[in-house]
Subunit: 217 residues, 2 copies
């Protein structure tokens, strides 16, 4: 039986693919593994049944027989470990790809989420305008370092990996901030990720939940 | 030859073990793998030689023959994968332990770091007092959920794992904020981690760098 993931019944991003199930859907599509989806409402996410799957009351979760997981990074790593396509065969290259998974989630994502949370939650606070440049600098620093590392390569370390998959989803969260656009190589990197057929199938599937249209699954 | 890690020549936390090399040292000590340490100054961290090892100009890095890694989470996972002691043998339990590694770094650490950064960088800003309760709430929410999950268990999922190792180091960053103390089971959990001989050896080794005393390595 196919693994089941949970996703927002009604995504706050209106189907732009910023919810963290997008990463897991994309990973499934890259390796060609079918999956089932269960919708959860914001109320259901705080109920004991969901908290038993996800102690922090979020999505996505992953269920497969007796195994229950949470954390998009851990789920993507689990999928990548069971199928070819998301991690190199060579042991050192594989370890480096996993390093980029952690870098995406631990080093690049936090300042991006901090900035985007401030634009949502603190927009009407008296300090909003004064703080935003400081938040921008933290994001700019990371993007500058990432851009330097990427250079004119297609992907972060050799071929496309789960590290790129996570990094592209993290960078996409910058949305219309204009910050990514200062680094044409990062814009092209994100576009390269979005152009992958697996990304497009995953994107269509999560959008279909929001629009109520047919899912591509 | 033993792997070499980089650590702060002069740690900003004055040897309280909050720098991210502590996690890697603790992992080495848990599995009994010897390691070498190379000190880097803040200036050296921004130089091309170090950036070639760590694109974001931080510590720790890990070098072992031709393999170079960064990101404390990735390094701990690499060590845990090569030795017994940090991940269960059972495949499902192993995957769940890795889930807790990601949970520590992606879900619990960001609000803790955001709060602690604000207390350092924004303490003299006019908005500091007004924002702090909001930052506290984010941390409190995570701690409450974690405390509920832990209950009266010793560790997050069965025996001690790399997930606990990372979570304890993340919770220790709360320092004297008083937030952890609202959950006696989390206080006991951190104390349980700190009481492990491997933690104590790692702590003494990083403190010795700061005090200039003899290293326990």
């Amino acid at each position: 039986m196919a693994p089941t993931i949970t996703v927002f019944e009604r995504s706050p991003d209106r189907g732009r693919g910023h919810a963290r199930d997008m990463r897991v859907r994309w990973a499934f599509e890259e390796v060609g593994e079918p999956y089932e989806v269960r919708l959860v409402s914001f109320d259901e996410m705080k109920q004991p049944e969901h908290l038993a799957l996800h102690p922090f009351g979020q999505i996505p979760t992953y269920e497969e027989g007796d195994l229950a997981l949470f954390e998009s990074g851990a789920i993507v790593l689990h999928i990548a470990g069971r199928h070819a396509g998301l991690l190199p065969d060579d042991a050192d290259a594989r370890t480096r790809a996993i390093t980029w998974m952690f870098a995406a989630l631990s080093t690049v994502e936090p300042p991006i989420v901090e900035r985007s949370m401030a634009t949502i939650v603190e927009r009407d606070k008296p300090w909003y305008e004064g703080r935003l440049p400081m938040l921008d600098v933290r994001v700019r620093d990371r993007l500058g370092q990432l851009s330097t590392h990427l250079g004119d390569a297609d992907w972060l370390d050799g071929g496309f990996s789960a590290g790129d998959l996570l990094m592209v989803t993290v960078l996409r969260r910058l949305g219309r901030s204009g910050l990514l656009e200062q680094h044409p190589n990062l814009v092209a990197y994100v576009a390269r990720g979005e152009a992958r057929p697996a990304f497009q199938r995953a994107f269509a599937a999560q959008l279909a939940i929001f629009t109520g249209g047919p899912s591509s699954m």
